[in-house]
Amino acid sequence: MKKRLTRISLIFFLVAAFPPGALAGGMFGPPQTLSAAAGGLNTAIGYLYHEDTYKNHPRHKMRHNIIYSQAAWGKSGMWEIYGRLAAADMKMSDAFRSCLPAAMNIGSEFHDYWKFFGTLGAKGFYPVNRFFGGGIFMQASYNPGKYTDETPVLYNGSFFVADLEIKNLWDINLGAGLQATLPGGIRAYAGPFVYLARADARMSHNIPGLPLGTEKTFLKNKSPGGGYFGADIPLIRGFRLNIEGQYTSRFSAGAAISYVY
């Protein structure tokens, strides 16, 4: 009976979908570069609260708090490349909740603190006239850090601690956007995007009923794409405020303050 249960559990682990570990690299920003027409640098610091759900079974809600520092180089108001150094924490609901009554665990949420990661991106913009234009962007992130958390588990009278490790998180975003320049130099923008996010996950113990296994597997996002919208507002002394919302299967929002050299 025990062997059979173990085998069933193992099969369950192998076929079950795993909690996602996808990463969000931060905001996308307005399609048009902020840099001077003759070419120049702009830098920014930003914060994004990112939430998403994933189609794997059972569904999990993933949350990140992301802070980042960005340096960008753009020219002619038409193109820009940028890099970011960022840090993000990770919370994942129900990561440790077992569906079998024989396995009891305390606490179900996976949580780990800030890890550094990097993002690279590029965008191009085509101005239709002084007020309107459209652009495309591509942004990719890679997180070399390991997110780990542990949960105490009681299974068939045995007590042990199981570790879950999520690492090698990366994502790619591709999107397009329309931009309108409003009075006061405010740039409003919106558009669709598609994205792909992957990560490796590994559980230290085989816990029956828990949707995680000892096998190395990859995690992926549920929605293939979503939409984003935002505004870039001039402040004083060369600073600008960028606020942005992103929607995939859940809503994310963030703000950044940039400085144009």
């Binding site: 640098l41 920014a44 520092s69 400085y259």
Partner: protein, 299 residues
């Protein structure tokens, strides 16, 4: 333990040799320094600016040219023979080691990179400048330094860029140190010293070693050779941005040692006066001649 010993040694040095600037601020608001007996042959040829009879021609004019006059500043130099040896050593170090290294470095590293390294070095000097501003009761300067630090950290890529100095923000760097802080409080130079490698200084200005080392975060990087390598990089980087300056100074001088000493003392005196003008405690004394202030009060 080593650091404590260094501190004790520096303070003992200061206590022993830095007499308060004798008559530090005279009646006309000018600083008087100990006279040099051996140096400045060129200056000896010039008329004494305090001797009014030497400027009889000016009697016809009804304006006061005193504000435009240069103060004659000298410093005692009892260690001149030793200092000259150290000066020659530093000169050779510059031409034989530092300059060749700087030339190669300049060829390898583009100017934006070298400026970024300089910016980062300056950025990390924030604790020392902030402390000096506080001790000088220049709270505006301390606030500006803090503003610069925050802006350059956040929007200057961790200090590699200096957006705070741009025309939009225009927060001025408070280029000061603990030697100037002592000067603001009336501590005199004492006498002239040329430190091997570190260059011109005085017992008072040697307090700046605290800025450059104890209050400079990279000094605490371990192992020791990593922090030493960083210091060497800063020297070479700084030299690569100023190749030719030293050469023109010593090239134009009859006696480079005296030229260097005069330039150093003059520069430090101006710096201390500028700092006094910003100090809450001392700016009244440096605001202008007493008679001007009295006239303003009457109005």
């Amino acid at each position: 333990m080593k650091h404590s010993l260094c501190l004790v040694a520096i303070f003992a040095w200061l206590a022993l040799f830095c007499a308060p600037a004798s008559g530090a601020v005279s009646g006309d608001g000018k600083t008087a320094y100990a006279a040099n007996t051996a140096a400045e042959p060129a200056m000896a040829q010039m008329p004494d600016p305090t001797d009014e009879s030497a400027y009889d021609d000016d009697d016809d004019y009804d304006y006061d040219d005193e504000p435009f006059g240069e103060e004659r500043v000298t410093i005692s130099d009892p260690l001149e023979p030793v200092n000259r040896i150290a000066h020659v050593f530093n000169d050779r170090m510059y031409f034989w080691v530092l300059k060749p290294a700087a030339v190669v470095y300049k060829a390898v590293a583009p100017e934006p990179v070298r400026i970024s390294v300089k910016n980062l070095h300056s950025h990390l000097g924030y604790p020392a400048r902030f402390l000096s501003c506080l001790l000088q009761t220049d709270f505006t300067g301390a606030a500006e330094e803090t503003g610069r630090f925050v802006i350059n950290t956040l929007w200057g890529i961790g200090g590699l860029m200096d957006p705070a100095a741009g025309e939009n923000i225009n927060l001025e760097k408070q280029d000061t140190d603990l030697g100037e802080t002592l000067g603001v409080y009336g501590v005199g130079h004492g006498f002239y010293i040329v430190w091997p490698v570190f260059g011109p200084s005085s017992p008072r200005d040697s307090a700046s070693f605290i800025d450059e080392y104890l209050l400079y975060p990279p000094f605490y990087i371990r192992p020791w050779y990593a922090s030493t390598a960083l210091t060497a990089l800063e020297y070479v980087n700084s030299a690569s941005l100023r190749i030719g300056e030293y050469e023109s100074l010593v090239g134009a001088a009859i006696d480079p040692y005296v030229a260097m000493r005069n330039a150093y003392v003059q520069y430090r005196m101006k710096s201390v006066q500028a700092r006094q003008a910003r100090s809450l405690l001392f700016k009244e004394e440096t605001a202008g001649p007493p008679e001007v202030k009295e006239a303003e009060d009457e109005n």
